[in-house]
């Protein structure tokens, strides 16, 4: 009986020893190895399906930038450049001369001529870029960059000259007034379209902006004080004169004159600053007291709609000690 129990205990012990301590046999191990290989292959396949890894056997270093990250970084960079692009326009002149005709007792006749001139001393505005939209294709990153003209202010001298003709001339006479006014630049969004052409510069990936000159229309909006001045100018005249000036519609003409605004060209060279991807391979390194030269052989850039891949071959060479 005791021997039987001992035998059973030994058998159980043997089983436990084999199961928990002695470890698996070659076949079981081989099964585990195959399972790990299978899972590894499945993981790689999943990553390739999602373009999250890239095959490039010869490249020591691969840098992958998803389009979503590039777009987010570009947006964050643009937000970081809080000062924007400053625009300063000086000494602009707008001129409008016209004849005012009105229906009188004897038919439609000229009641006067006016000359409206606006001398803008200075207009300042800020062009503030919004987060861009990027698209990856071939060797270029397409860029659509909305730019808002905002925070615009200015000062101008408004001059209004009226030569009354006929009855209006008799009651209004000639009139010449000028007044300093302030103005603002209404917010307007322009869309700049261009691209970054990618190339390799040494060990870094750079994007060369390709934008054309951009024509911007910068409208000017006179301040409320301007309208008060015009209203006062008209109100101070006699009834007949007022009727002639109302016919001249001075307010609307000032507004129309300035609303067309100033056409300015945003020169391409302003946007031609090279953009460097902020990751690059070092050209030398020190390890265990040895100075090594890192030879970098860029192997190319691959752009898919979802991802940018940049690969380099790296060779470590011992640096010659200084003489």
């Amino acid at each position: 009986m005791r021997a039987g129990l001992a035998g059973a205990a030994l058998l159980a012990g043997g089983f436990a020893y084999q199961r928990f301590w002695w470890g698996p046999g070659p076949e079981a191990l081989e099964r585990q190895r195959r399972e790990v290989q299978r899972l590894g292959a499945r993981l790689e396949q999943r990553l390739r399906e999602r373009a999250r890894v890239h095959d490039s056997a010869g490249d020591s270093v691969l840098v992958g930038m998803p389009a979503a990250v590039a777009e987010r970084l570009a947006g964050e960079a643009v937000s970081g450049l809080s000062s924007g692009i400053r625009l300063r326009l000086r000494n602009l002149r707008f001129l409008k001369a016209d004849e005012v005709r009105a229906r009188l007792l004897l038919g439609r006749r000229s009641v006067g001529r006016f000359l409206l001139s606006v001398h803008v001393h200075e207009v300042r505005a800020v062009l503030r870029p919004a987060p861009p939209r990027l698209s990856f294709a071939n060797d270029r990153v397409g860029v659509i960059l909305p730019v808002a003209v905002e925070e615009g202010t200015g000062s101008a001298r408004l001059r209004f000259k009226w030569d009354g003709l006929g009855m209006a001339g008799a009651v209004c006479g000639d009139l010449e007034v000028s007044h300093e006014v302030s103005a603002s630049v209404p917010r307007r969004v322009h869309t700049l379209k261009g691209a970054l052409r990618l190339s390799v510069d040494g060990s870094a990936l750079v994007g060369q902006p390709e934008f054309a000159d951009v024509e911007l229309q910068v409208p000017i909006e006179p301040s409320d004080a301007t309208w008060r001045f015009v209203d006062k100018l008209i109100a101070e005249r006699s009834a007949l004169c007022r009727a002639a000036l109302v016919k001249a519609d001075v307010k609307q003409r000032i507004q129309a004159l300035l609303a067309r605004g100033v056409r300015v060209t945003l020169p391409r060279r302003l946007l031609e600053r090279q953009v460097r991807l902020p990751v690059e391979v070092e050209r030398s390194l020190a390890m265990s007291g040895q100075r090594m030269r890192v030879e970098v052989l860029p192997s190319g850039v691959i752009l898919t709609p979802a991802q940018l891949w940049y690969g380099v071959r790296v060779e470590l060479k011992k640096e010659a000690p200084p003489l």
Partner: protein, 255 residues
Amino acid sequence: MDRQPVGARCCFASLAAMTLVACQGGGPRARAEANALSRQAATLRNLIAAVETDQAFSSKHVTLGIGQELVRDLLQLTLPVETVTAPDLHVRLETAQVAFESGESRVMLRGRVSRASAPRTFADLTVHGGLHRFEVGERAGHVSARVALDRVEVRQAEAEGLRRDLVEAVLDRVGATTLASLAEQIPPLVIPVRFERTLELGAVSAGPFEIAPASLRFSVGLAQVVPLGGRLWVLLDVSAGPGPRGVSGRPKAGP
């Protein structure tokens, strides 16, 4: 009288079974490998699940794929490393092999162990380990890692004849402390890929337009490291924000 042979037969059967089990392989090495394979399989299953739900290798990260040959070359530069362990074993590691497969980074350092008192009595050995403690340097923006060593394997004893006692001494005494001491001598492996932390943009003016000088600051954090397909895939969280002169748009006054 009748039972005795039954018990003896049971004992015999048990011993035979154990012998059979022992003959089927196993042993401490098999157990260690089986445990490692189980961990690897679990890691891979978790990674597959994470990739399928866009939690790993997601489109939110900048990816670096570092080839195992480059890491091997970098590690090789740190060798040889050597240490003397009690009572008189001299361990010197000279060559490195690196493999990044199936979610595991494997480092194999080959060298020799000899009696400090009798250098011509030696055994070739392989020390196994991996990479760990990955980080992105705050100032220089380099990705670095440390080597951890965790297992010794004596390949063959040579010279002056096979010395069984030396092999046993190595397996007995080249323990965790010695391995830690060797690993400590290997400096952090710095991957020669640098992240610029700041980007300075100079002033530009053209016609009535002017862009003030500004700077951008990039913040880089380590999201995940996955050894796979012969590469170490390092996933980084990168974000950009205004640098020291980004807010005002003007350079800060010097001291």
